[in-house]
């Protein structure tokens, strides 16, 4: 496998967007433990095509995301596959912390006082990145919260599992389409931490090996084989 060609650190409360090509890989690492990395995907050729959590979950019969799962758009195509995961569970239904809740829990966002240690929230972080591409709140969708495990009991009650992600936890995505990736390292909305959680995330980017016939994501289920066919059709003739 070719070495990574670019790496960067997303500071606690930071956000970023990056367009990644088909055939690239992104490795995300929770360096300090208990990080949360919010993420959304859009098709840069048609920004109306976006990550769809319900379609992703139901076609793979799962509530959690882990290795072998593919991350689907609303058009039945695969933005990215989870090719490695040291953790086993990431959630995609709880959304983001918002400005008012952040202020109530941790104190108001105040750049004048806190500089870049301000209390940024995931919702506003996504809005800032969306606006760079002419998108807005109507283009939001249920996002992925990497490194955060939210379980349910029989009654459906949601519970964020504290201490789920240990230092060094790592996920690698392989992009199956050109993808606009939006991300933030803001606290998970169900976090009960007393102080604003300051957790950086390390990101490495490079070229991915091609999809092999015995690929774990391709062969995870019949649905994924069809998802790969749809994605192949999108690139036919390229």
């Amino acid at each position: 496998m070719k070495p990574f060609e670019y790496s960067t650190e997303i500071a606690p409360g930071g956000h970023w967007s990056v367009r990644l090509r088909k055939g690239t890989r992104m490795q995300i690492t929770d360096t300090a433990g208990n990080a949360n990395l919010g993420m959304l995907f859009y098709n840069p050729e048609n920004l109306l095509e976006r990550y769809n959590a319900p379609d992703t979950l139901k076609c793979q019969h799962t509530f959690k995301l882990t290795r072998g799962h593919c991350l689907y758009s609303d058009m039945g195509r695969i933005f990215a596959s989870i090719v490695e995961d040291s953790l086993g569970w990431h959630e995609t239904v709880c959304g983001n912390l918002r400005a008012q809740q952040t202020a109530e829990r941790y104190g108001v966002r105040n750049y004048q006082h806190d500089r870049n240690d301000w209390h940024q929230n995931g919702h506003d972080a996504f809005l800032v990145e969306l606006a760079k591409y002419g998108l807005g709140e109507a283009d939001m969708a249920a996002n992925i919260n990497w490194f955060s495990r939210v379980a349910t009991n029989e009654a459906g009650k949601l519970l964020l599992v504290d201490g789920h992600s240990t230092p060094g936890s790592q996920v690698t995505l392989r992009f199956e389409m050109d993808t606009l990736v939006l991300l933030h390292a803001c606290p998970h909305p169900l976090s009960e931490a007393a102080l604003y959680p300051r957790k950086p995330v390390h990101i490495s980017l490079g070229v991915s090996p091609p999809v092999a016939d015995d690929d774990a994501c391709l062969n995870h289920c019949e649905e994924n084989r069809r998802g790969f066919r749809n994605t192949m059709l999108y690139h036919l003739g390229r």
């Binding site: 799962t62 039945g76 239904v93 709140e137 969708a141 009650k157 066919r229």
Partner: protein, 213 residues
């Protein structure tokens, strides 16, 4: 929670039968109450809500389930917008549990879930696309089609992190009632899905009723 309503259908200000595979698009004013009735049982009503003042503000599954701390919807659930504003509250429910994780069927997701050659089968999203195309006056576009509620649909989440589509827990005459907390547009696809048990493999009509305050 199972709560029956004392509202009488004959006193409703509007009553509309929606055949399977058709859509319902209408307004509900703040204080009015909307009932969706599963006439023959085991039907799925794929529903979206929008602020009538600004349809860019729509129902949000993430905000709704996070704020109530539970993945299922029933009596007492407050449906929130993507601005985290309360839109409607479920005030009666004779079914007991409704899904908001499973999303809607679409031509494209049907190819993934069932067969590439099933792309031409009718789907909820196609009904919504027809609705917003036939009614541009509502100001709803494709970007406004978000994650929906599946009234009457049973999609249990397991403690191990699984998710399955089960036989409906609805039955003939079951209903859910919602009181609007703001002026809203409601967009319902009466689900035409023939490939899974969400509507018992036999899509049937629903009725949409609205009562004034």
């Amino acid at each position: 929670m199972l709560i029956e309503s004392d509202r009488q259908p004959e006193q409703a200000s509007s009553r509309t039968i929606v055949a399977a595979g058709d859509y319902y698009l209408g307004s509900v004013q703040s204080g009015q109450t909307l009932r969706i009735l599963d006439i023959e049982g085991n039907q799925a009503a794929d529903t979206l809500f929008y602020s009538a003042q600004d349809p860019a503000e729509r129902y949000s599954v993430t905000d709704t389930i996070r704020e109530q701390g539970n993945v299922y919807l029933t009596t007492g659930s407050v449906l929130r917008s993507l601005r985290n504003t309360p839109m409607l509250e479920i005030v009666a429910d004779t079914c007991g549990r409704h899904d908001t994780l499973g999303g809607a069927c679409a031509s494209e997701s049907n190819t993934v879930r069932y067969d590439l050659e099933k792309r031409c089968m009718h789907s909820c999203r196609d009904s919504w696309m027809l609705a917003i195309t036939e009614h541009p006056e509502y100001g709803i576009g494709k970007r406004d089609i978000g994650h929906n509620i599946n009234f009457f649909m049973n999609v249990p989440v397991t403690e191990a992190g699984g998710l399955t589509f089960e036989d409906g827990i609805s039955a003939p005459g079951k209903y859910v009632e919602l009181t609007a907390l703001m002026d809203v547009f409601v967009l319902v696809s009466n689900c035409p899905q023939l490939n899974n048990p969400c509507n018992g493999f036999n899509p049937t009509p629903i009725e949409v009723l609205v009562w004034d305050n």
